[in-house]
């Protein structure tokens, strides 16, 4: 007999993997190859952040890292760098999730924004140190802004469509524990 709490966690981890696969799939569709236009948001990272702030036990760090590393390889990015900083960002947010629980959404958004900005800066500095060719700063800032604008959308979807909510105080005390 499986513990229902564990089962719930596994289902949600499975859902996360499924959503990530869907996102990768959607981005690989060869629909319009004319360059320019809006860069799509890094939906997997945003999804991971939105979930970890609400339910730290729903986003296993290994799963998150494995999915991002796979996308690094598929999407022609320098493998490992973006993933490593995203994992650090995820862990920072996981550590702050207790504090953020009592805060309004604007505070959470600001926290995520700071983490995303620092991730971008750290990645650009590291790639610069290793003389890897990068896209222009303007384009990456544009991508960052798109990410920030899309964060509330991802949060809304997670809360209302997938039921990833913060636990009310006292509700399933066992579930709230860090996994």
């Amino acid at each position: 007999m499986i513990d229902p709490v564990t089962l719930h966690r596994w289902v949600l981890a499975g859902l996360f993997t499924g959503l990530a696969t869907l996102i990768v799939f959607a981005r690989m569709l060869p629909l319009d190859l004319t360059p320019g236009g809006m860069p799509p948001p890094d939906a997997i990272v945003l999804l991971g952040f939105a979930w970890v702030v609400r339910r730290p036990d729903f986003v296993p760090v290994l799963l998150f890292a494995a999915i991002l590393l796979a996308t690094d390889l598929l999407f022609l990015r320098p493998p490992g760098v973006a993933t490593a900083f995203a994992v650090i960002g995820l862990e920072v947010l996981r550590a702050r999730s207790g504090f953020l629980r009592a805060q309004p959404f604007a505070m959470e958004w600001a926290n995520v924004a700071v983490v995303l900005v620092l991730m971008l800066l750290a990645e650009r500095v590291l790639l610069g140190v290793f003389f890897v060719e990068q896209v222009s700063l303007g384009l990456s800032v544009y991508g960052l802004l798109v990410n920030l604008v899309f964060y509330p959308v991802v949060v809304g979807l997670s809360v209302w469509a997938f039921g990833v909510r913060r636990l009310a105080p006292g509700e399933h005390a066992a579930e709230a524990r860090l996994g």
Partner: protein, 306 residues
Amino acid sequence: MAKNRRQSEDYVTPVRRILVGLLVLGLFAVFLLWRIDSPRVERFRAQIVDAVVPNMEWALVPVTKAAGIVEGFQSYARLAEQNQELRRELQQMKAWKEAALQLEQENAKLLDLNNVRLDARLSFVTGVVLADSGSPFRQSVLLNVGARDGLVDGWAAMDGLGLVGRISGVGEQTARVILLTDSNSVIPVTIQPSGQTALLRGDNTAQPPLEFIENSDDVRPGDRVVSSGDGGVFPAGLLVGEVVRGSDRRLRARLAADYGRLEFLRVLRSHPGEVVEDTGGLIVMNPVLAPVAEGVPAEATAEAEQ
């Protein structure tokens, strides 16, 4: 029960922290490995893509087709308008067809006069576009032809009209084409009719800029841009596009290939040309086979006899 968990957590947290640290270190190690031995990791990447993308083909193809159908329905709405437009274009095309026929005849005559033989080795493999690069800053597509079809890195890919990009990364069943609009793509081009050479450098926009033009006064918007074949990168004379003046007053190329709907690409089999390695080689390519001063090549003698 709850107390037990709290206690066990005290052991779990530091261990977990160490494991996460190791994970991050591991990821940086992957990056370092890539930086040090890029070709090996890129081959690994090509293998991963090779393993993943063909498995997704069954899903990618119907969704792409469905999106095409939706687009088709949208265009039905503008049918009358489109019809007018097409009629007008048809009129123009008829005029062009006449011009083309005349030019073709003229061209055939001139070729005949010059006894030109086209390069028979310039054949091609056609592939279907499987997937996009998925990244907003990289412009590339995956084709469903790969090493098993004899593809080699560096070959040129065209759609029906113009050059699209070059092969970069070949898996067993798939190959990646870096498009001309990618910021890593630089190709040598010639601008006709002035014959100026330039570099076409992709910059993630639909109209890549032309750089290092010797004398930009000779270049006008509307001139044709063709690949120059310098450096042995591409066969010479493939149509790339036409010159336009961008909104930033730079000369740019409007690409002839239809980037909005790349479905089939033809990959040109190109063969490395003769390479002159030192100054002596320029005069006598191969001393053993070189004709001696009075010796006329055998074929020429045979022709003379007939």
